[in-house]
Every structure is written in C-alpha cells, then in structure tokens.
C-alpha cells in the first residue's frame, strides 16, 4: 500500500509526464470517439481551460476579472474574421492536417494578450471591486463595438454581429479536439509552473498585500500586467477554438455568465491552486449536468444554493481543504498544487 502511494505521488510530482500521458490518451480518444462525444469533451475542456486561465490573474494575483468573457469574444471574433477575410490564412487553416487552424487560434490569442496588456495598463491601477467593474465595463464596451462594426463589414451576409464560417474554413472535430487538449494541457502546465516560480510567489504576495509586496521589491505593476496578458492569451485561444467548433461566432460569446462560470469553478476547486480549476471545473460540470437531468426547471436554483454553501463553508475549495490532510506519511500538501 505504502509503495503504491509513493509511486502515485511520484507521478503527480512530475506533472510533465502526467500531462504527456493525458495528451496521448486524448489522441486515442479522438480516433475512436463519436462526433457527439467529441463535441461534449471539447466544450468540457473549454470550460476547464477558461477557468484555469482566469486562475492566473484571479487565483494567483487576486484580481477578479469580472468581464473575462471579453477575451473569449475577442479571440472568437478575431479568429473567424481573420479566416473570413484573409484567404492565405484560410488555406493555412488546412495546412499540416489542421495544425494551421491552431496557428490562427494562437494569433487570436496573441491579439487578446496585446489588448489585455494595453487595457491592463489602465484598469490594473484599480483595486478590488473597482477592477472587477472596470473589466465588466470592458466586456460591454467591446460587445457594442463588435455589434457596431461587424454588420458594416459585409452588410449582405452578416446578420447583426453573427459571423458564420464558410464551409471551406471548417476542420474536422477530432483536430479541434486535439487542439483543445493541447491548449488545456499547456494552460494547466503554465499554472503549475507559475505556482512554483518566483513570478508566482510575487503574484501571491500581490494578492496578500500589494503595497507591502512593492516595498519588498516585487515589480507589482509589471507582474499584474504580465499575468493579465497571459490569462487573456489562453482565454483568447479557447474563444477561437470554440468559434471554430461552433462553425461561427455570435454575440452570446460575450455573455457575463461565462465569466461567472469560470469564477465559480475556480472557487469550488481552490483559488490560486494549480489543480483547483481542473477539479472545480469537473465538479461544476458534473453537478450542472446531474441537476439538469434530475431537477429540470429548478436546476440552476439548486446549483446557486450549493455554490453559496461552498463559498460560505469551504472558501478554500476542494484542493485547499485536501492540502491540509495527509495519507499515511505522504503530506497531500506536497502532492497537490
């Protein structure tokens, strides 16, 4: 038994191996699973990835980006419009078995990072609730800009702000699935690396007491901006992949509900832990599904009460609580992040 625990903790301690294993399993899944299953898994991973990327700015640095769905939107629209209007990108999409599509998604992510870094220079000077409100404002500002601009781009084809990808721009679901697995894996690895690094310790110090952190030498402004940009980068890639998966994008992608989902998943799993968004996201998704099946109609009400109870009685989240215990001689704190 003891050697079994030791070997499990060894593998958990080397997350790279674990994540590589994950990727291989997913490639196999992509080969054998049906389209519906793939679709479900893509959406599940999109959820988890969103939560894990918001965790970088919210969990570590303590800045609640309440309009984080804006980066899903910017990523999604950038992707779709790039593919729609630039035919070279359109052919790049299909290059090397769909890897090109992933490249375009990364470009969309980069644009999100640039937006986050420049907007962050202003809004990251605000703290607490003011930052949350400012990001929410950003979400709506971008939404109305999109609503205003997109219909003028191609008045005959675009109804409102909806853009549907032409059939030639679509790629097979298994490719999107693989891209999503890689994205999620990289996001989780990034969380893990940040948690273990000097950058991560600086971010946590900012969350605890920003002024004290600055006086102790933490370049607070640079760190916050970097964390915000990295977070936006990954959220943007997910937004792009969601749009590709859905065959287009409309203004629903800016829904504040997306951001609330992300926040709830992080809080259930444990703020500022690398595994928290993954665990919290799975629990949230499972609860959501379970309640929808058994209590249709009042499912969201029950979910809301459950979430409120969790926040009241277990604010550290699942990982936060588990970290306090140990199995035999193995302290879970050393294993879980």
């Amino acid at each position: 038994m003891r050697s079994y625990i030791a070997s499990v903790s060894y593998y958990l301690k080397s997350p790279t191996l674990l994540f590589m294993f994950l990727v291989i399993v997913s490639i196999v899944i992509a080969r054998i699973a049906g389209l519906t299953t793939l679709d479900t898994l893509i959406l599940l991973m999109a959820f988890l990835g969103m939560a894990a990327s918001l965790n970088i700015i919210m969990g570590f640095a303590g800045y609640v980006s309440f309009g984080h769905a804006v980066f899903l939107g910017i990523g999604g629209y950038t992707y779709v419009l790039l593919v729609y209007f630039f035919s070279p990108l359109n052919s790049l999409q299909h290059a090397a078995g769909g890897i090109g599509a992933f490249m375009v998604a990364i470009i969309a992510g980069l644009i999100c990072a640039i937006v986050a870094a420049s907007v962050g220079a202003a809004v990251l000077r605000l703290r607490g609730a003011f930052f949350a409100i400012a990001t929410l404002g950003l979400n709506f500002a971008v939404l109305y800009i999109v609503k205003g601009i997109v219909p003028t781009l191609n008045p005959e084809q675009f109804f409102a702000a909806q853009v549907i990808l032409p059939a030639r721009a679509l790629v097979h679901k298994s490719l999107i699935f693989n891209a999503m697995v890689i994205t999620l894996t990289v996001i989780l690895l990034t969380n893990y690396i940040i948690k273990k690094s000097r950058f991560g310790m600086g971010l946590i110090a900012i969350k605890e007491d920003e002024d004290a952190a600055e006086v102790l030498g933490v370049p607070t402004f640079k760190y916050k901006t970097l964390a915000f940009a990295v977070s936006a980068f990954f959220t943007g890639i997910i937004g792009a992949l969601i749009s590709l998966n859905g065959g287009g994008v409309d203004e629903a992608i800016f829904r504040v509900g997306h951001t609330i989902d992300m926040i709830v998943m992080i809080v259930i799993g444990g703020l500022g832990t690398a595994l928290g968004p993954l665990v919290g996201g799975l629990i949230y998704y499972w609860l959501y599904d379970l309640l929808l099946v058994h209590y249709p109609g009042i499912n969201l009400m029950i979910l809301g009460v459950l979430v409120a109870l969790i926040v009241l009685f277990a604010p550290e989240g699942v990982i936060g609580i588990l970290r306090k215990y140990s199995i035999g001689k193995v302290k879970l704190k050393d294993v879980l992040e």
């Binding site: 000097r198 946590i204 605890e208 002024d211 004290a212 600055e214 006086v215």
Partner: protein
C-alpha cells in the same frame, strides 16, 4: 569606511494637498551607524521613510543613496538597490508560511532575478533562524503573535540583503522585556550583518539607548541633530517634543546608567 555617507537627503519636501508633511529636510547617514529619527505624532517620520523607499515622490529635493540619485524611483527598484523598510503596522503575507514570507524578501531583494528558489529558501531559512523564529518556520503568518510578526517583518527585510535598513517603530506594542530583547537583536543585526540602520521610534529610552546619532523632526521640519545627550539637552527639542525638561534629563541619565 568611517563616516562615509551612505544616504543623503537634500532639501526634501513632501506635501499632501495643503499639508506639508516633510518640510525642507536635509541630513546625512553615515555608513554603519544607527541613526534615530524621533518626533511627536505627525512629525513626518513615516512620510520621510516613504520618500526614501520610493513609496512617495517628493515635490522638492533629492535622495542620494551611495552617490546615486534615487529620487522618485519606483519602490521595488529602491529595494533592489539595498534600502528595505519594515512597517509600523506589521504587514505579513498572512496566507503564506513564515518561510515563504521571508522567501519573498530573498527573491525580490538585492539579488532579484539572480537567486534561485532553492538559494532563496536557504537564505530565508537562515534569516528566520537569525531572528529566532525557527520553530515557527512552517506556520502560517496569520497565526503568529504580534511579537513574532514583528520578528517576521525583520526576517523578511533581512532576506532582501539590504545595506540600509529602515525600522519604523519596530518596538511599538511590545512589553518591556520584549523591547530589550528586540534591542539586542537590532544591535546584533547591525554588527553581524554590517548594516546601516535608521530607526523611527516612540519608545524614547530605546532610541536613546541604541542610536549613535539622533535627528528630531517636528511638523515636518528638522529641529535638531546630534548625539542623544546633545539632542536631549537641546531647548528646541525639549519644548517641541519632550515638553518636560526633567523628563529629558532622566532619559539621558538612563542612557548613562545603561552604558
């Protein structure tokens, strides 16, 4: 080495709206000394510390550290250059352990970016040991007593490997026994770490006891500078700060006895 200036303030003025918190203050700090900075509440002591550490930018004047003009530089850069302060009201990172708190000091201090996590952990551990908190090393900072939190502030500041340490009321809130222990620690820091220390303090006999030189502020102005004996006998200081000349004489006597 003796009497080399490590820090010079030249005509520093800091205003908050109409209030002049620090008014045209100049002084030098010699390398390796303990300088006391005293004055009644609202005299501008903490503001002056905040100007030196870059938290506030002064309206006029210059702050020179080791022949370098550091006026208005961001606080985190000044920390890297070697000036670190402890807070009047302790501000540990509550959800971090004692060791992690000290590691922040080490990772972002003098060797910021050049020190590995392992080295930082080692250095932080040494400093926690140095201030005598080693049995609390894995405790969350929020669980410490006030005395322990003050020691943690010191350990965190020392982990940054400063050349100039600013102590803002490091003794406030401690009982007499703890005060004398803390004074011993400060002396030990100065000797073993070869630091220059500026100490702002309300516990009067403590400053008289430990400081080699004292500067007195009142309403943002420097009103006296000299050895503890000189300062305590200065008529300006007696009227502005101590109020009662007999009290002042008593402090001086206490100092003589303690030496």
């Amino acid at each position: 080495m003796a009497n080399r200036n490590i820090l010079s303030l030249e005509n520093v003025t800091k205003r908050f709206g109409g209030l002049v918190a620090v008014n045209n203050v100049s002084f030098n700090v010699n390398e390796g000394e303990i300088l006391g900075l005293i004055g009644p509440n609202g005299a501008g002591k903490t503001t002056l510390f905040n100007v030196i550490t870059g938290v506030y930018k002064p309206e006029h004047g210059k702050v020179i550290f080791k022949d370098m003009d550091i006026t208005g530089k961001p606080a985190h850069l000044i920390t890297r250059l070697g000036i670190v302060k402890t807070h009047q009201i302790v501000r540990p990172f509550n959800e971090m352990t004692v060791l992690e708190n000290a590691m922040i000091g080490a990772l972002f201090g003098k060797r910021a970016g050049r020190i590995s996590i392992t080295e930082a952990r080692k250095l932080a551990y040494e400093m926690v040991e140095f201030v005598g908190l080693v049995d609390k090393v894995d405790e969350l900072a929020s669980r410490l007593t006030i005395r322990e939190k003050k020691l943690l502030e010191l350990a965190r500041a020392l982990s940054a490997e400063p050349e100039l340490l600013l102590l803002d009321e490091a003794l406030a809130g401690l009982n007499p026994k703890e005060v004398s222990e803390a004074l011993e620690l400060i002396k030990r820091i100065k000797e073993e770490k070869e630091l220059t220390i500026i100490i702002v303090e309300h516990v009067m006999h403590a400053v008289m006891n430990i400081a080699e030189r004292i500067i007195v502020l009142d309403h943002g102005k420097k009103i006296a500078e000299g050895t503890p004996t000189e300062v305590a006998n200065d008529p300006n200081v007696i009227t502005a700060y101590l109020g009662d000349p007999k009290l002042a004489l008593r402090f001086v006597k206490e100092r003589r006895i303690s030496q």
